[in-house]
Symmetry: C2
Subunit: 254 residues, 2 copies
């Protein structure tokens, strides 16, 4: 029996058989005078065994281990380990599917303009903001930044930040206040730094900032983060934000 026939019988490709030879999973058979491999029943049997094991999800090195230890002892151990691994994978897939379903249901209700997934509270806030996201560049930017924070710092810091932010976002006047601040900042896009509206915008923004926010940290000298953040704004907008942070920091820690 030559390689093609063996492959057909067991239901694998010839390439796979040669691969198993290469890895030492399946012993190389005798060669005919022309160099062709000549297989016997033993090979078919062993190959079928390899197949059964790989189809269970074992990796080829593990299959080799199982085949090598002629006592079947190790098999049980490997299978148990594999089951645990598969359980983890299954759970991971399940979780991802749950998040996918949330996203898809949001999308069906017309939310989700072009963004990826973010936490449900934020999603709700920006969902209600609605048309603002199509008209106010500031609102768009704000959503992007909050999405960044939501994605970035894993649990610990995220939770802390969200716990002080969320009450502010879900208050009864939060939407109107946010719209007002966005409009004021948008108006500063082309304004000079000494425009009188800068002060008003800063005051409006500071009023929105929850008192528990660590604004002091943000103002610390070596903070390149704040600079990077403000580099994306016009000079007047950046000045307004900076003043608002100072006002919030002074008002919050008297």
């Amino acid at each position: 029996m030559r390689i093609g026939e063996l492959a057909r019988i067991v239901g694998v490709t010839t390439r796979a058989i040669r691969h198993y030879h290469h890895l030492g999973l399946l012993p190389e058979p005798e060669r005919l005078a022309n160099g062709y491999r000549e297989y016997g029943l033993r090979h078919a049997i062993e190959l079928a065994r390899i197949r059964r094991l790989t189809e269970l999800g074992l990796g080829l090195p593990e299959v080799r281990d199982v085949l090598a230890e002629d006592a079947g002892r190790d098999l049980v151990e490997v299978l148990a380990e594999l089951d645990a691994d598969l359980a983890r994978q299954e759970a991971a897939i399940h979780e991802r599917r749950a998040r996918l379903r949330d996203l898809l249901s949001d999308a069906e209700r017309g939310l989700l303009p072009a963004d990826g997934p973010l936490s449900p509270e934020l999603s709700a806030f920006f969902g209600e903001l609605g048309d603002e996201l199509r008209e106010s560049p500031m609102a768009v930017k704000d959503r992007e930044v909050l999405a960044l924070i939501d994605t970035a710092a894993p649990p610990e810091e995220r939770e802390k930040l969200m716990s002080v932010l969320l009450p502010a976002l879900s208050g009864p006047d939060a939407l109107a206040a946010a719209r007002d601040v966005y409009a004021r900042l948008d108006a500063l896009a082309d304004a000079p730094v000494d425009d009188p509206r800068v002060t008003e915008a800063a005051r409006a923004l500071a009023a929105c900032v929850p008192p528990d926010l660590p604004t002091g940290e943000a103002l610390a000298e070596g903070n390149t983060l704040l600079d990077t953040f403000l580099a994306d704004f016009s000079p007047a907008q950046a000045e307004a934000v900076r003043r608002a942070l100072r006002m919030a920091a002074e008002g919050g820690a008297p």
Copy 2:
């Protein structure tokens, strides 16, 4: 902001960021005079978006597609497709885990000497055969061959073969008959081809063969399969099997 800081903020490795640059997922930022990449808030935002998408399970080429089509239209489509894909994977894993559990429970009851998984009926038959598998080489070989058939020809032919084999295996005298045949064939291991016991063994074996088995096919001239199969036997054993097949074929198609 340089690459290390960006990586820390978003929670990825610098290697991943460079990888995204290489694939065109994330635009290359300006370079400083020393060749360092200099990032802004925009990059952090985009990188976080990429992260959210990959963590959902999208592949990087798909992420690129979603980011490229500036309308979010395609996102829903991609996500739906991804969900279908994940559903398939989840089902596959679930099935494998079910088979694994069967195997492990078999192993706990002391079955499964060193073999991989096979269909439950076969497993039951050889489970009951018990000690025979430790004493009779023929029994071991038989199990191996049936396991091969069980693994190899997918559904169609397998079902056909099993449907005629299983009744014969589960009859009340099946175990005793099988033991008898195994013993007779084992006795022929070192016997000459013209040993009188060859005829008796052939008769005993033929009596076990279900009448519906396509023995004619097996005897057709060009069948290298049968030769390969018999090459694993001693001459007298092979002769007995050959004669049994002839007897079954003649008796089965009168």
